[in-house]
């Protein structure tokens, strides 16, 4: 479906170029841009991770902020209660936050994945608010509404955001790699089959419960690790700002915008939307005015690009190439000539 990034010569070259540019960002940027870059790469990772569950299996979780916040608190509590000093060691605890988030996700998923469709959406939201309440009320552990102060890194000034940028970039690259490996595997194909027709998938032997749970846990673990880095970055965490429903909604919107179930869609969606949001914040202050912008984008995408940007562009290119419009499939008929909408190869991003 996605022809754009399949052009054999362009793909590695484009990837290499993008990677080089990403690595070079801190060299050419002022502190303001560097912290913008932290947020943008953070959302690239979040959207990509969310897509592994929401995009591939079609199970829409609106509660992923729970894992984000859980990761932030996990890392924060380790630092505070184990008395780990600020510096680079806290980054080594990020995988631990990932593992613990995975355990939490396994528990939540085990329950939530007994439901389908709308019920699943509601259950994920409910779990998120439960977690927020816990963070607020376990005052002895989390500091409750007064927040949890983390050790502040000794490096400061212009350099402050740079290590966080590279940590976020590493997690984003990890997320994209994991997503790519899954998309090209039999496991990933099983997830897409679940999205298309879960009962039919069961009928051909796909262990749907195990697959869904695995996708959910992988997705959540990535989000938890990103949350951990974020917590250390902002150095002071409050329940409502890390277990923030808007963070959960943002990743979803970015994926829908870029292309649900594609590899490059979430990346593109995160870059475009988070950049726009930061521009809003810059020009209109910290108000939540961007929410109106988000709502408008969402309506426009649903109305004009229901598949998202990447698949729509890919379709356009494919149509140009085949020299004629490949309209939507007409009514089925036995005598119809074979449809011409060819999708070469197996896994496309």
């Amino acid at each position: 479906m996605n022809t754009v990034l399949r052009l054999p010569a362009l793909k590695p070259a484009g990837l290499g170029l993008a990677l080089a540019a990403a690595l070079a960002v801190p060299l050419i940027s002022d502190p303001g841009t560097a912290s913008m870059a932290v947020f943008i790469t953070m959302y690239v990772g979040l959207a990509t991770a969310w897509n592994i569950m929401g995009g591939y299996t079609g199970y829409i979780s609106l509660g992923h902020a729970a894992f984000f916040g859980f990761g932030a608190y996990t890392l924060g509590l380790f630092l505070v209660h184990l008395g780990i000093p600020a510096g680079y060691q806290p980054f080594l605890l990020v995988p631990v936050a990932g593992v613990l988030t995975a355990l939490l996700a396994a528990l939540i998923g085990w329950i939530a994945l007994r439901t389908r469709a709308a019920t699943f959406v509601i259950v994920t939201i409910a779990f998120m608010f439960m977690l927020q309440l816990l963070a607020e009320n376990l005052v002895n552990l989390t500091g409750g509404g007064a927040g949890l102060g983390l050790p502040v890194p000794s490096w400061g000034g212009d350099f402050f955001a740079i290590p966080f940028y590279y940590a976020m970039l590493a997690l984003a690259i990890l997320g994209v790699t994991v997503s790519w490996v899954i998309r090209r595997s039999k496991f990933g194909l099983g997830l897409l089959a679940i999205r298309d027709d879960e009962d039919k998938a069961l009928a051909v032997g796909v262990p749907t419960r195990a697959f869904k749970l695995a996708a959910f846990v992988i997705s959540a673990a990535l989000v938890g690790m990103i949350g951990g880095v974020y917590g250390y970055f902002i150095t002071y965490i409050y329940p409502q700002f890390v277990v923030d429903p808007l963070i959960g909604i943002s990743m979803v919107l970015m994926v829908f915008f870029g292309g649900l179930g594609t590899l490059s869609g979430p990346v593109l969606g995160a870059i475009v939307l988070e950049w726009s949001q930061l521009q809003f914040a810059y020009h209109f202050g910290a108000s939540r005015l961007y929410l109106i912008f988000y709502a408008a984008v969402f309506l426009l995408v649903i109305r004009f690009l229901p598949q998202g940007v990447v698949p729509s562009i890919a379709d356009l290119v494919a149509r140009r190439r085949h020299g004629r419009a490949a309209g939507p499939p007409g009514p089925a008929s036995d005598s119809a000539e074979p449809p011409t909408r060819i999708r070469p190869g197996l896994a496309s991003p």
Binding site: K186, L189, V204, V206, A336
Partner: protein, 243 residues
């Protein structure tokens, strides 16, 4: 010897008794027909055997082992495939991808490895070729004609080499030419050792293909035996003429 043995199977939906103390067996290597008027419980028997709905009572034995109560994916893993009354395929996967979804006894390593794939892809292409639909290998399932979907569903079920395949109206809604082709495919697969239990309303198709026919009426088996005898059975005629 029988490959599948259904004993005293029962299922009711609210006040409707869909399957009532139903017992039948499918001989290894046979093509067995399961016929009966609309609503007689044929699809429900399939759903009970493949674990899609829980049974109220009775037992299902496959290769001398009870499979009652197992979930559908495990039942497929044991070697029982099925198709659906209205062909069901994955609309947003290509024809070739549809062929690669079926999983039988795969560990996590196999699910993530790339190497086993290419071998499986070759087999899938061969299968598509033998069904004469390899030209649409790269087409999305949702863009296939109904006939192509029927063929794809049958081909995909065969990917994991099931020993028994339950076909729910393989000839339903297809034109006479395709019907002939589907019959040939079933015969061919049967010659390779696959056992079939098939539900079909087209009597010509059943008479031509089946070694053995079981007749269901209001969830109960009212006759069974070779096709010609069954067709002449007055009880069967009564059931069909709508007593």
């Amino acid at each position: 010897m029988s490959l599948l043995e259904i004993a005293n199977l029962g299922k009711r939906f609210g006040g409707v008794v869909a399957v009532d103390n139903c017992s039948l067996s499918v001989a290894t290597g046979s093509i067995t027909g399961l016929i009966g008027p609309n609503g007689s419980g044929k699809t429900t028997v399939f759903n009970l055997v493949t674990g899609f709905i829980p049974r109220d009572r009775g037992d299902v034995v496959f290769k001398a082992q009870s499979i009652a109560g197992l979930p559908p994916d495990q039942i497929y893993g044991l070697g029982i495939g099925r198709t659906f009354q209205l062909a069901r395929i994955f609309p947003r996967l290509t024809t070739l991808e549809n062929m690669l979804v079926p999983v039988r006894r795969a560990g996590w390593r196999a699910l993530l490895s790339q190497r086993q794939w290419s071998h499986e892809q070759d087999r899938a292409m061969d299968m598509l070729e033998s069904m004469d639909i390899s030209q649409v290998a790269g087409t999305l399932g949702g863009a296939l004609s109904y006939g192509q979907r029927k063929l794809l569903e049958l081909a995909a079920v065969m990917m994991a080499r099931p020993e028994l395949v339950l076909l729910d109206e393989p000839a339903g809604g297809v034109n006479p030419v395709l019907l002939e082709r589907i019959a040939d495919h079933i015969r061919q697969l049967n010659a390779q050792g696959v056992t079939f239990l098939l539900v079909e309303h087209n009597m010509g198709f059943v008479m031509k293909l089946c070694d053995e026919v079981v007749v269901l009426h209001q969830g109960r088996v009212i006759a069974s035996g070779n096709p010609r005898d069954v067709r002449a059975n007055p009880a069967v005629l009564d059931a069909y003429l709508g007593a």
